[in-house]
């Protein structure tokens, strides 16, 4: 797809930006033209950047009365044919769960950035990974979710574009589980030539030659083509259990199962296509460190030092996609190892699916928790050495 309005989009070149700004610029390159939000530290810089930049692209940045309303705007914008996103931080992310659930059931593409801060409650305004389970399980009801985990300013740009592409491709809400660390950090950012950036747009019924009278808004296959309001197709935009044509009467258990399991499986059947995992020093490693987000920056530093200074044969894995969980990918990568360390900025969350995936490969899986601040390399190294020497 050619990128429209390109003279006002960020131009190819080298920049020094905050992660928050890189995220907003990536969104606009991916086609986002509506931002609705409610300010909250440490996510506010994303909104501020959109407020400055979207009017230049004939887009709209709106401050709403709260987070529920902010996320709800995305539903309407998306069905009107516009790519839309919001950003919030953990207390606001809790409020958005209702809309996430609605968007899963109505198969509405949208992007939500959670710049995580510690909880529970108002917690504090520093950094955190305490919402990674809420990302998957916070919304009520079934339905898989896609959640990405950026570790750098470049990731905040690249993964935001990818989030929009995944949302459009799979007709589903996509979450970017950022952290204060990556949102506030400034570092070099490379914007590639626009022609090299892949932008995916939703498939419409017109694209598949489906006439309005034949259109089923929740039919025609695993990922239904999405009609846009005002283009001549009738749409029942409904979050009750529904038939392929969007009707909700004549409820029965079989329809219920077909409806919800298709929405769940359209993600779960394509985990290898959706997920990304980075691995280093994995061949013949005796031990392993698995992490995600900004902790992977500390993690790789600790692993390099453990290998070089202490001669420990420890491998490194970073999950770039948290959900759906890349179980098969992980099992293909990980040999039998003696120890797995899982540093996280929470009291141990992703260690659970990791353990579930690898319990026959390793009997000693150790959490390295931190609350409210990024682990230092020394902190991770100390735990590794305590266990292995």
């Amino acid at each position: 797809m050619p990128i429209s309005g390109s003279k006002h989009l960020i131009q190819p070149g080298n920049y020094y930006l905050q992660g928050a700004q890189a995220c907003a610029e990536g969104a606009m390159l991916a086609g986002c033209r509506v931002y609705a939000g409610y300010p909250i530290t440490p996510a506010t810089e994303i909104m501020e950047h959109f407020a400055r930049r979207l009017p230049q692209l004939d887009g709209r940045a709106i401050q709403m009365e709260d987070e529920i309303a902010s996320a709800s705007v995305l539903l309407g914008a998306s069905w009107a044919g516009t790519k839309a996103m919001t950003a919030t931080s953990s207390p606001g992310f809790s409020l958005m769960q209702e809309v996430i659930s609605f968007a899963i059931m109505t198969e509405t593409p949208l992007v939500i950035v959670d710049v995580q801060r510690p909880g529970p409650g108002q917690g504090y305004i520093t950094t955190s990974q305490e919402d990674v389970m809420q990302a998957r399980w916070g919304h009520h009801g079934e339905g898989s979710i896609i959640a990405l985990s950026p570790a750098s300013v470049q990731d905040m740009f690249d993964l935001t574009i990818e989030a929009f592409n995944l949302a459009e491709r799979w007709r589903t809400p996509v979450l970017i589980m950022a952290e204060e660390t990556v949102a506030h950090m400034r570092e070099p950012l490379v914007i590639p030539p626009h022609a090299e950036i892949t932008v995916v747009d939703r498939v419409k019924p017109q694209d598949q030659g489906i006439a309005p009278q034949d259109y089923l808004p929740y039919g025609h296959g695993e990922v239904p083509p999405m009609a846009i309001w005002g283009e001549g197709y009738n749409i029942n935009h409904v979050s009750l259990v529904h038939y392929e044509d969007g009707t909700v009467t004549r409820y029965n258990a079989r329809t219920h199962f077909e409806n919800v399991s298709r929405i769940h499986q359209k993600i779960e059947n394509h985990i290898d296509e959706i997920t990304k995992v980075d691995a280093r020093f994995i061949d013949d490693c005796r031990h392993l460190l698995i992490c995600y987000g900004s902790v992977s920056r500390t993690g790789v530093e600790a692993v390099l030092e453990a290998r070089e200074r202490y001669g420990l044969n420890i491998g490194f894995i970073r999950l770039k996609t948290l959900w759906p969980f890349a179980e098969a990918r992980l099992r293909a990568l990980v040999p039998e190892v003696e120890t797995i360390f899982v540093p996280e900025m929470n009291l141990g969350m992703m260690i659970h699916p990791i353990t579930e995936a690898l319990r026959d490969r390793c009997s000693n899986i150790i959490s390295i928790p931190s609350l409210g601040c990024l682990h230092t390399p020394d902190q991770i190294l100390a735990r590794i050495r305590e266990e292995l020497t």
């Binding site: 520093t126 660390t181 950090m185 400034r186 570092e187 070099p188 920056r297 990024l374 230092t376 390399p377």
Partner: protein, 186 residues
């Protein structure tokens, strides 16, 4: 600087002293105008003024993994609290820059290279107190001139500050630099 070596600068004080701004200017100078990799991070409390505030710049010719300071080469302490909080992470023989008007007590003073610059007083001699951060930046440059050029820093100031404050900012930079050259390098 050898590849993969890190040079770590930490600036700490109260919110409102321009701590975050000089971190941003330093990072921009290194990465945009001098072509050297850097990561700039910041940390502050919920208050817009008065709370503890910190910004950091990690510089390397290679990849920067851990984005925060591990063992600071430079600590600019603009308040006593900042000094008390962060002195422990300063390398032995590292550079400690402080304003004697706001920082009175330094423990283990023998372990560091202490540079006292009356940044607040010098700022009053130029455009006013709000330029104290740029005075400190000018003084810092006189100390780390082998790492980054004056032009790169001044270009970064120009790229960062509002255009109508450029002249007093550059004057404040020169004030800090000249103070070091006159008082401490002789």
């Amino acid at each position: 600087m050898p590849v993969n070596d890190r040079y770590e600068i930490r600036i700490a004080g109260f919110g409102g002293q321009g701590v975050v701004t000089i971190g941003k200017i330093l990072g921009t100078a290194f990465s945009v105008f001098a072509g050297i990799n850097s990561v700039n991070t910041q940390s502050y409390g919920p208050e817009s003024r008065g709370g503890a505030c910190r910004s950091e710049v990690v510089v390397s010719q290679g990849e920067i993994n851990y984005p925060y300071v591990r063992h600071a080469d430079v600590l600019i302490a603009l308040s006593q609290v900042a000094l008390d909080t962060y002195l422990a992470d300063l390398k032995e023989s590292g550079i400690l820059m402080l304003d004697p008007g706001s920082v009175q007590t330094v423990t283990d003073a023998d372990h560091f290279r202490i540079i006292k610059v009356p940044v607040a007083a010098l700022a009053h001699e130029t455009g006013g107190l709000k330029f104290q951060n740029i005075v400190a930046l000018g003084a810092l440059h006189a100390v780390i001139a082998d790492l980054i050029s004056e032009d790169a820093l001044k270009d970064a100031i120009q790229a960062t500050v509002p255009p109508d404050t450029l002249a007093p900012n550059l004057a404040a930079f020169d004030k800090g630099k000249q103070y070091i050259n006159h008082h401490l390098k002789r």
